[in-house]
Symmetry: D2
Subunit: 396 residues, 4 copies
């Protein structure tokens, strides 16, 4: 995680969190350990709880506690009551000035069972889209007591996470599951958002003939202008050999589409939820199902000489059949979060209570650090160029 490593040196020198308490609620993994040590290196006293007991790696938790003196409250497989107890313990231990959350449970606890600590909290970061939704609802009801930066969605993160991360790992998952040759195959990508675009371009990069389906004309035009064939799914269904959904919608591949597909068609979902392919309709259509003809491949025999191959039971193929995002994605995501928190620590008076986007300058800084990890440097504006740009802005 070279981006976090670069920040480590910087934070150690600059001490952005000097004398501050930070309570964090995160998946306890090796990557999280890096983030927590980074906060500590920046001067923070960190207390850590698990955001999901199933993902806790106990050895990591132990190492953080033993080797780095972090207060860790987490144990794999702890029950619901223990889970919330751990969050409370972390909060009480940290007496937090700032918080990092992953899903909203810590912030919720802070506003209810640990409300006594609220007055000390100056701000926080939320890591996930789901958590942001919860917090926005709280904010809309006037219930959110401090500013939270939504670190889950920035221009940089969208590129690295959705386009590159999802694009690569979706193709990776399909190859691991099927070992099929992409060159010359007709691949149908449903959805041309930031994820779908990555999937489509990478499939084309392996020699596939890619068809894109969309419901949004601006995205459809974008796909078309990039040289992709754009069709309604009803027209794509009978000609596709591999289908990959990345829409965020439901039943994108439905009964009518399944009914006309070619023998051997492969169905994969790269969207978050397993609702994009109508698996129940597929089951209803099939005469017989042969699960696990290869790992993560179920064969649905339609009884008319055609068999459709469903990958990962319609769940996100990137995670189920491959390893999810490459580590570079987590490196960027945690780096962005650390930068946002450091900025917040130095600008506590800038933001009112509520949910806020990552400041553009912070996102640019994350991009800059990521470029540096591959040894890439860019230009800086000269004074004359800065003046020209200012004059333009003044002009406007």
């Amino acid at each position: 995680m070279p981006l976090l490593a670069a920040l480590m040196a910087r934070f150690a020198a600059q001490q952005p969190f000097k004398d501050l308490g930070i309570a964090a609620c995160l998946h306890i993994t090796a990557e999280t350990a890096m983030l927590v040590r980074l906060l500590q290196a920046g001067g923070a006293a960190v207390a850590l709880a698990a955001s999901n007991p199933l993902s806790t790696q106990d050895d990591i938790a132990a190492a953080l506690a033993d080797r780095y003196g972090i207060a860790v409250y987490a144990r794999a497989g702890v029950d619901r009551k223990g889970y919330y107890r751990h969050i409370e313990l972390a909060l009480n231990q940290a007496q937090p000035d700032f918080v990092i959350d992953d899903g909203g449970d810590l912030v919720e606890t802070l506003h209810t069972r640990a409300a006594a600590l609220l007055p000390g909290v100056k701000g926080g970061c939320e890591s996930t889209a789901t958590g942001v939704i919860r917090l926005r609802r709280m904010a809309a009801e006037g219930a959110l007591a401090f500013p939270v930066i939504a670190a889950s969605d920035t221009a940089t993160k969208r590129m690295v996470d959705n386009t590159c991360g999802t694009g690569q790992s979706a193709i990776d998952g399909i190859l691991r599951a099927t070992n099929t040759l992409l060159a010359g195959k007709t691949v149908v990508v449903a959805g041309f958002g930031s994820s779908g675009r990555g999937v489509a371009e990478y499939a084309r990069g392996f020699g596939a003939q890619v068809i894109v389906t969309e419901v949004d004309p601006v995205r459809g035009l974008d796909a078309s202008l990039r040289g992709f064939r754009v069709l309604p799914m009803a027209q794509a269904a009978p000609i596709g050999e591999i289908f990959i959904t990345a829409t965020g919608s439901v039943d994108v591949i439905g009964a009518d589409h399944l009914a006309v597909m070619r023998d051997g068609a492969i169905l994969a979902n790269a969207g978050h939820f397993d609702a994009e392919i109508d698996v129940r309709a597929l089951a209803a259509l099939a005469l017989a199902v042969y699960p696990g003809v290869r790992p993560h491949v179920d064969a649905y025999d339609l009884g008319d000489g055609r068999t459709l191959l469903l990958l990962a039971e319609g769940r996100v193929v990137n995670l189920v059949a491959a390893e999810g995002h490459p580590p570079e994605v987590m490196d960027l995501a945690f780096g962005l979060e650390a930068l946002a928190l450091a900025w917040l620590a130095g600008n506590t008076d800038k933001l009112p209570a509520g949910v806020h986007e990552v400041p553009a300058g912070i996102d640019a800084e994350a991009a800059s650090l990521m470029l540096a990890t591959t040894g890439t440097s860019i230009d800086t504006l000269t004074p004359a160029q800065l003046a020209y740009r200012e004059s333009w802005r003044i002009g406007s």
Copy 2:
């Protein structure tokens, strides 16, 4: 112009401008004639003045007047006084409910010399970025009396105009000027905004090895993640064989860069203003200049065995050495403007006085129409999918 043609049928049927007066100030060209006829077909009484007397094609003006009964006030080469007189005449003739402007002169006239007409004006459209800047300044001073939609910048227009239009015509201009082979050449593209990205991808599409320079790390990262080599200009200067600027900044290629370039390096600017390549520095560096070694190619002999080739005197190579934007771009731009104006006519109470972006739905409609011109259709959300999206939004 198939998009305008499609709108013609629609507007003739729907009469969005029925009984309305429209005053327009535009370049008098064949494309403009199509737009004006479209407004007329939609029910408007249109009066037209030229937005620049140099671009007026008198035969077009005459045809609009004679054949279509449009009130046209324009003559090629008219002087400044006559120019503003024409605008006033058009305004008085139209008694406008709505206006279309290209640069802001009509709106300015309306707020000063023709202010008597102001109370009748319900809204307008501005076609250019420059005009939008003027209008924003007026609005900031509280001087703008009605809502104006800035039709110059939408997601769709950025794709079609900047990325595709500029991308294609910049390469086209370089090929016409030099006839050089791109395959295997090192092409340096300065700037990876929506224009620079088009230039870079199209140069790569012709087999060039493309280097991108940027000052914005998010754009620099974008270029890098798309497989472009990203370098500071100081490092790119001595290895590039063709340089194309598309930054919107000044002196992107300056004296220090010129001093280290390879013999035979080609310099072209695809940005709006001719300030991106420091032509004066180049002239100062040169021992001798041989203008017009080919049309639009000046050879600067540096006196040390190296000669640099400046295209189009550093002005925008797309327009000077090629034909500027393909007609599809103007078709989309005018279609967008017509759609925006029709929307405004039906929603006069929706927008306060000021400068407004094109509503997203209108931009989507333009994209949809452009897709249709190539025979492309897309999906529509099913009721279940609509409900799912709504539930999500409610959730958030």
Copy 3:
């Protein structure tokens, strides 16, 4: 294996091997079973021995014998003596008119220990490059008694097997081994033959910045004209982040290159032999080796803050870390072999003893069948076009 399936119907109807004996020496796998059944469907009496006792799947062997009545002489793990004994038994059983070999052992046996059968043999096919080399040597010494078609190398097979198959599976192997993000990474591909080109294009297709090294200027120029940066390895070594060799040569990445590489550089070989990366030099350079930091990843700590990651111990990453070629490649290879043998059966008088290339028409037929498997059809020359082509040839 849709190509073999299509041939099955054709051969069943046409009976190209009616009343003929065929002795085959092949890896006993599910794919081989399809080929053998195809020959049988075409009228042949087939006897089968294993070309390598380690790859024999006993259940497949049993099924071929029990269900399809094929004479199979093979058992997993049989010793060397048993191995050759099996080949002799298969030959004696088949009393072959034709043979299929995979490595040359059957043909060698036929010319020595089973020479009594030689007079009946009218021709054969060899599946591997290694076998072809042996047979060419036999032919050069005048020792090869019948015509053998070298089915291992045709234009079609080179495209499908080397460019697409190796290209895809090499990237696949690297992703499975490392899960690293390719976008934005500098990937160095050594060799731009038919395999290296696939690797380079697919890496670029995933957003990598690809550098190609070559020793052949025609291939180097080819890479350059396709937009790849071409450098000597000594210049590529210090800037690459991922290195992939596909040259067929030795020590392409040697001690001098390893010494200057960046920390974290990944080394993978996609060539047949494990000699392309100088693993001994790497071991000598390293202070410590941490094998298996991930499956198929060994970390070589150079002791100066740099660690290099060697994949698959320098052996072919496609096979070791992924699954080797996609099934489409084997489908094409076996289809080509079956077509070549059928042609030979109908044209025994056309070829003298010796090693021969696959006739161009047969290769075209295989390409045609492979196109058909994806539902693709192409044009046929009209009589007028045929006449035009003929006149041209006559002209020449």
Copy 4:
């Protein structure tokens, strides 16, 4: 012409043509002048005649004679008799040891009217495919008295000339003729040989959705595996927006195809002869023809609301509407020819009378020089690698 310039220095030093007479019959252009000066620099006494009186640039001819002392026999517009007289004069002047021809007229003259000079001639080069055909016929009849190297067709020349040169200039010609936007357009490329592949890839590189038609299944499969959609022309005809032929065949776009095309379809030919689009069928189909609606664009009104646009009257669009090949192509072609002739001069005993291919080593040398013109260098085999390759060959 940097490749020729590089050779100039080498030949001046090595004097490959020392004391030799060379008679050349070529188009008298600025590029030819460079070639002739190169031969002279290499020690030759050159006499030059025109290979076509229409292409002679008299000022170039004069400059070669006056400034460089070359014997030039050429004048623009000379009649047929004068044309052949010039060739004879050049031959007599040169008393040639070697000849360079462009179409075969000089070689034919040498074997007939100037046969007295034949005994002195040790070899030659032919520049064109047409000339090679004539010479092959002579050789087949036993009439060719010396070895001629066919410099018109090598692996390197095919890449540079057909794929890159034709690919780029075909697109360039279409853009100059129509200024149409390629992004999002359906472009049909007929033929996927070395030229068609370039056209198809470059059209895709500009955002077009490319369909390929072929009659050769191996080429069709190649296109398919590179991600192109492959269709019979009958299916492509009704969906294409731009058609580009590059087949070398006739009537590739015939009456049946024209009858079903979309309104506004653009028809362009990038093949050598104007027989690929059936222009007579198009004329027969049209109700009216509007020639020159733009330069090199004729509009064929089919009378049913559809108009087809024929570019360059069906002649090669690269030459008619653009400038033909980029100068890099001629640089490579002449460099290849000069290298071949120099090799021949040093190896007169190696080749028997007849037509011969360019030796592979000479083609590699040309590729190497072309790489050097862009500053690119490649690796050389180490002694160990050379030994490994030799052992392999010995093995085989």
